[in-house]
């Protein structure tokens, strides 16, 4: 399997793993970081830090400029409109929690929130808990036999009470890129807010938020080769005013006295406290580096890896969840408990994920206690897959 990755060399973590005989096939959980990210982070800290937005001194101005340039640069990566808003968060999970709280005041008992059957807990639980607290209806949109969202059924489920439609663009279990445009425009027509969980999708295809007609889009830096502890919430111009301030502190106040306060509009009004400046700047640097590469070549490489992975698993009679077409494959070996297989793969230095993948209800509805997941990134190569398959064969031989 000759599928070399020309980008592997830029990832010190992958090179370190190789020395330890570890094969990283768990990028859907978190991605390794390119040297450019590390450099940006180190450089930021080394040159001296300062708080943003407030200082009259030069370090503060430099930090503010770098911070707001990072915001613009990330907005450009998202292909957002100049009028749209980019709010920095801790990650996808915080982004969705923010939305579930900042939109809550619009919702009344009997209103509906729609999600898909394959949502990650992050895009299920905030809505579920809101629904429980407020007497809302949480509708779960079904999958078809391929494990994909059934778009016609989904559209049929929309009603005049539907207020929010929140869907993953790429499931972290099924690995299938959803075409959501029909659903999004139907949702928009009836006046529902649309939320896209881009946590898995963003790293495999650069988001185009002019094309993707959603109100909100969330993702996490750490899954896009960026630093830990940062994410983003994109809010389209038309949707920004719907958001009510959700957390309070410094940096987000227009004016206050002891008993009352007025807050700044988004984004600053939604970023109370000292931001994660260094990480945000390093995230922007990561994305700039990413955009300097040949995205077509990366997509081709990842597709070739994915095809080889799928084929190898099928050839071995593995039970694959759905019909994945991107980034990852989840599967079980017949008659073998996923934990046993994961343990023996782990013994052989193969890092794949096993379990419910933060999608307990999905696994349960498929009648599975768990599954293994192999996930890919641009630094993986044919060797990684070969080592994975050799380890799989070895493990199965022991377990059967």
């Amino acid at each position: 399997m000759f599928l070399p990755s020309p980008w592997r060399q830029f990832f010190p973590g992958i090179l370190a793993f190789a020395e330890q005989q570890q094969v990283w096939l768990d990028s859907a959980a978190t991605a390794q970081k390119p040297q450019s990210m590390l450099d940006a982070l180190a450089q930021h800290y080394q040159q001296g830090v300062a708080n943003v937005h407030r200082a009259q001194h030069q370090p503060g101005e430099r930090a503010t400029r770098a911070f707001e340039n990072a915001r613009s640069s990330i907005a450009k990566w998202l292909q957002a409109d100049a009028q749209d808003t980019l709010i920095f968060t801790k990650g996808t999970t915080e982004g969705i929690n923010l939305l579930s709280q900042a939109l809550a005041h619009h919702l009344q008992a009997g209103d509906e929130i729609l999600i898909s059957a394959y949502e990650h807990h992050a895009n299920l639980l905030p809505w579920q808990q809101l629904a429980l607290a407020r007497g809302l209806i949480l509708k779960v949109l079904p999958m078809d036999t391929d494990g994909h969202l059934d778009i016609d059924q989904a559209i049929a489920q929309l009603s005049t009470r539907s207020r929010i439609v929140a869907i993953s663009a790429l499931s972290n279990v099924v690995g299938h890129k959803q075409s959501l445009s029909a659903l999004l425009s139907a949702a928009r027509k009836i006046g529902a807010w649309t939320v896209i969980d881009g946590a898995q999708a963003a790293v495999h295809e650069r988001p185009n938020l002019q094309q993707l007609d959603c109100d909100f889009f969330v993702c996490s830096a750490h899954k896009v080769y960026g630093p830990d502890g940062v994410g983003l919430l994109f809010a389209r111009e038309r949707a920004v005013p719907a958001l009510r301030h959700w957390q309070f502190g410094g940096e987000m106040v227009r004016h206050c006295d002891y008993q009352h306060a007025e807050f700044l509009p988004a984004p600053l009004g939604f970023e109370p406290g000292t931001p994660s400046t260094a990480n945000i700047i390093a995230f922007a640097a990561t994305l700039e580096w990413l955009q300097s590469l040949d995205s077509q070549a990366i997509a081709t490489h990842e597709a070739a890896l994915h095809a080889a992975l799928l084929q190898g698993l099928q050839a071995r009679g593995m039970q694959i969840i759905g019909s994945p077409n991107c980034a990852l494959v989840s599967f079980n070996a017949p008659q073998v408990h996923h934990a046993d297989l994961a343990l023996l793969l782990g013994e052989q230095g193969i890092a794949v994920r096993a379990g419910h993948h933060c999608a307990m209800p999905l696994l349960h509805s498929l009648g599975l206690a768990g599954a293994l997941r192999v996930s890919l990134a641009m630094y993986n190569n044919g060797d990684d897959l070969q080592r994975f398959f050799a380890a799989l064969d070895q493990a199965l031989e022991i377990l059967q």
Partner: protein, 137 residues
């Protein structure tokens, strides 16, 4: 881009002649002292520019042709910056004002740093407010 007025060109010459920040600061203070006083009655909540920690008031005289801004601040150096800003747009119509490159103007004066992206110095907020007021003309 419009031609600079004679007074604007004079300001540039004056500031460019400064070799040290002290001289520039003293010039700014002088400019600020020359800024027309804004009566207390006009220093209202409505005329306050949001987004700067130092209070700045900005008014647009809607009767005047071409439009005429008035500005005030409690801080003396900021008053100087406001005076230089007003000097640059003096006599221009709304369209011309919107078209001028303020960054370039302050750069020529050697005062680029004062157009800081932070909120402490409100000059950026003043610019935004000016555009808003002109838009609502």
């Amino acid at each position: 881009m419009n031609q600079l007025s004679t007074t604007a060109q004079q300001a540039i010459d004056e500031f460019q002649a400064c070799e040290q920040w002290e001289q520039r600061a003293r010039l700014l203070l002088q400019r600020g002292a020359q800024l027309q006083e804004l009566p207390q009655t006009l220093r209202t909540e409505d005329n306050l520019v949001h987004g700067c920690e130092t209070r700045v008031w900005l008014l647009l005289d809607r009767e005047a042709v071409p439009p005429r801004f008035q500005a005030a601040s409690e801080a003396r150096l900021l008053r100087g910056l406001l005076a230089l800003l007003l000097l640059r747009i003096e006599g221009l119509d709304a369209e011309q004002i919107t078209a001028i490159d303020v960054t370039d103007w302050f750069a020529q004066l050697g005062l680029s740093r004062q157009l800081s992206p932070s909120r402490s110095n409100g000059l950026n907020a003043v610019l935004i407010r000016m555009r808003e007021l002109l838009d609502n003309l």
